[in-house]
Each structure stands twice: as C-alpha cells, then as structure tokens.
Subunit: 120 residues, 4 copies
Amino acid sequence: MDIHGIQEELKEFAEAREWGRFHSPKNLAIALAVEASELLEHFQWLTDDESRTLAGRPEDHAAVVEELADVMIYLIQLAARLNVNLEQAVADKMRKNAEKYPIDLARGNAVKYNRRAIEE
Amino acid sequence: MDIHGIQEELKEFAEAREWGRFHSPKNLAIALAVEASELLEHFQWLTDDESRTLAGRPEDHAAVVEELADVMIYLIQLAARLNVNLEQAVADKMRKNAEKYPIDLARGNAVKYNRRAIEE
Amino acid sequence: MDIHGIQEELKEFAEAREWGRFHSPKNLAIALAVEASELLEHFQWLTDDESRTLAGRPEDHAAVVEELADVMIYLIQLAARLNVNLEQAVADKMRKNAEKYPIDLARGNAVKYNRRAIEE
Amino acid sequence: MDIHGIQEELKEFAEAREWGRFHSPKNLAIALAVEASELLEHFQWLTDDESRTLAGRPEDHAAVVEELADVMIYLIQLAARLNVNLEQAVADKMRKNAEKYPIDLARGNAVKYNRRAIEE
C-alpha cells in the first residue's frame, strides 16, 4: 500500500477544498474516533458469532468496508500531519508487544490480557 | 507498506498466544474504537494550535506515535478478519468523496462540511 | 438525584482551578467520549456472559463504578454548559423512542433493532 | 431527577420489546460509547468558540439535546444492570477528584491537567 502516495492525494483533496484549517491534528483525531465508533455501531447488537459471519452478508459487508476506509483515511491524514511514518510505528509497536506479552504468559489468558491492556 | 505481510505476522502473533477466540470482528471493532479514543485523549485539552505543534515535543510525539500504531494494528487485523482489501477500500472511498464534495461547493465551507458529514 | 446541585458544585470546582477556558462544550464532548471508551475498555475482551457477572467481582466492579461516575460527571457538566435540562431531554427521548419502536415490530428483533439504530 | 423511576421505565420498555438479551452490560457499554461519539460528531469541525455559542442555534441545539439524552439513557440502563448507585458513585468521585487536583497545583494549568488526566 502506497501510504505516502495516498497522503499526497488526500492533501491535494483537502487543499482544493480549503479544508486545511479544519484539519488540525486535534480535529483529525476527533474525526478518527468518530469514524471508529461508526464502524463499531455496525457490530453493537450482534453476537460474537454473528460478527464472525458478517463478511458473508453483502449489504452489511459493503457498509463495513466503507467505514474501515473512513478510519484508514483519517488515520493516514493524521499521521501525515504529525510527521509519523506509520509503517515504522507499526513495526516498532509489534516488537514492543512481543516483549510485553511473552507467549508463555499470554497463552489463552483473557483475564491477563485484559488486565495488561487496561494497565497500558 | 506491506499490509498483507503485517496481517500474516499479526495472525501468527495472535495464534501463538491463542487469542483467536478473543479476536472476533466485534471485539476487534471495540478495541479499535478504544485505541482511537486513547489517541484522542492526548489532544483533549490542547488548543488547535497546540495540537499543530505537538510533533515538535518529543515526549508527546512518541506517545502519540504509539497510539497511532495501536489503531493501525487493530484496523488491519479487523480488515483481515473481514476479508477486506484496505487499499482498494480506500481508493473506492476517495473516489466517492470526490463526487460527494465537489470543489465548488465544499470550498472553505465548514458548515456545509459539517452538515454533510453528519448526514453520512 | 439533584442534577442542578451537582452542576453547581462542578462549576465551583472548575472555577476554583481556573479550568473554565478548557471546558468548552467541544472539549467536554471529547472528554465524555474518552471516558465512555475507558468504561468500554473494561468490557472489551469479556464474553457477554462474563459482562453479566462483572458486578459480582468486587475489584472489577469498583473500577467500572468509577468510570460510570466519570461519564456522568462530564455529561452533566456538558448539559450545564449547553443549558440543557437533562431530565426533560430524557423524558422527551423516551416518548420518541416509544413511537419509533412500536412493541409489535420491535419484539425480539435484533436485526430490525440494529437497522433502525443505524438509520438514526 | 428520579433515576430509579427512569430505570424502572426503561426496564419495562426493553422487556416489552424482548430486548433483554441484547442488553448485556457489554452491549450497553458499546451503545454508550457509540452515542457519546455521535454527540461528539456535532462538535468535530467547530472551533471552540463556535461550540460555546451552539446553544443559541436552535436546530443544532435540538440535535445535541437528543444526543445527550441518548447518552444518559444508556448510562442509567448500564448502571441499573451493574447495580450501581449513580448518585453515590458521582459523590464519591467528586470527593476523590478534590484530593487528586488540589486547587494550588491545578490552577489554570492545562499541561498538568492533561498529564494527570492521562495517568488516570
């Protein structure tokens, strides 16, 4: 995925519409959280099992695909505004997670997982 | 960015820890929204201008980079679970946005922007 | 519950700390969403059944009680800032919901519930 | 505000529609976070000052009032499900906040406020 290319395109898109002044990092972070919640809304009354089969229901799937795109679009715009190399950030975080959740301790342990996540 | 490669790595990571049963699309959507809010938390009491200069404050920047990575990691895990090609989804959505917000109507118009965003 | 009295107390609390300039409706709305996500975080890896028995686990319960309070505190501060009578707003919305979800159509119907919720 | 009375009404409302099985604490926590984000959405592209004058714009105000009610409705349903006395929880948290943010240290200090909020 050409993150940098998409960031350039999104920048031109916003500039052509003079939206730069709305796109402060603060506002983009709000927009990202709002879109992530709209995505979550599609799952809110589903059981876990229903959520696992959602991809097989074309109408629901299409709606969710669009929400995923919205989240991604704000995420990479925010990264651009903050001069963050997303690829590097993800690689660094995955290395950190590997240290934080050693396989032996983390295996199948929801409670521990939860506790650790909350302590983060 | 090699989204597919990262998705494979994340899948192995979760499988080694037997976290598959926690990682339903529903739970991943919750985790994504929770991480997006943790990212937002860093901006909540900042003015717009302070958010624009955050990238120049190393400690704040490092914290935000990590939150961006968390959001990205859950986003691409969720996309994998739902068989969504993120790159394609983003391209499709950008084309749709170009039709939805024609340059002439959208230029510098916060109110219209807001209204349209809410109607989505 | 003496909402008005609590609003007065919260106002004095914020004024004594000179936090008024941080407490714009926008910032309070962000804080409310952030706190609601912190509350959600406690449930994110639980099954539905585990969430139904959480009240019986004192440590988890205490943590969740505090998050509920945080959400409530920001909600009533925001209502005060926007001159909203929360009690009236809730009564009006409950009447509206009774019309929107007639018992015959809504009974036990998750899919319809979901669809209608999303269309809101 | 008669929280207990409203909780009884909401319980009857959900029971009449056989929604009890959807209303696990986990699902109510999701719904609460989703509604808090819908509320936030109304503020996302506003400046701080525009958010301070929103109460004077009848159409915007009405929309926001309804979102506040939605948040409150899920909050008190969740509290009922978890056997939480909201009034007591708020009183306890306000006492705790008074100890956590002594007036001398907190006065007008956004950075400290932010740091402390994040550490919570």
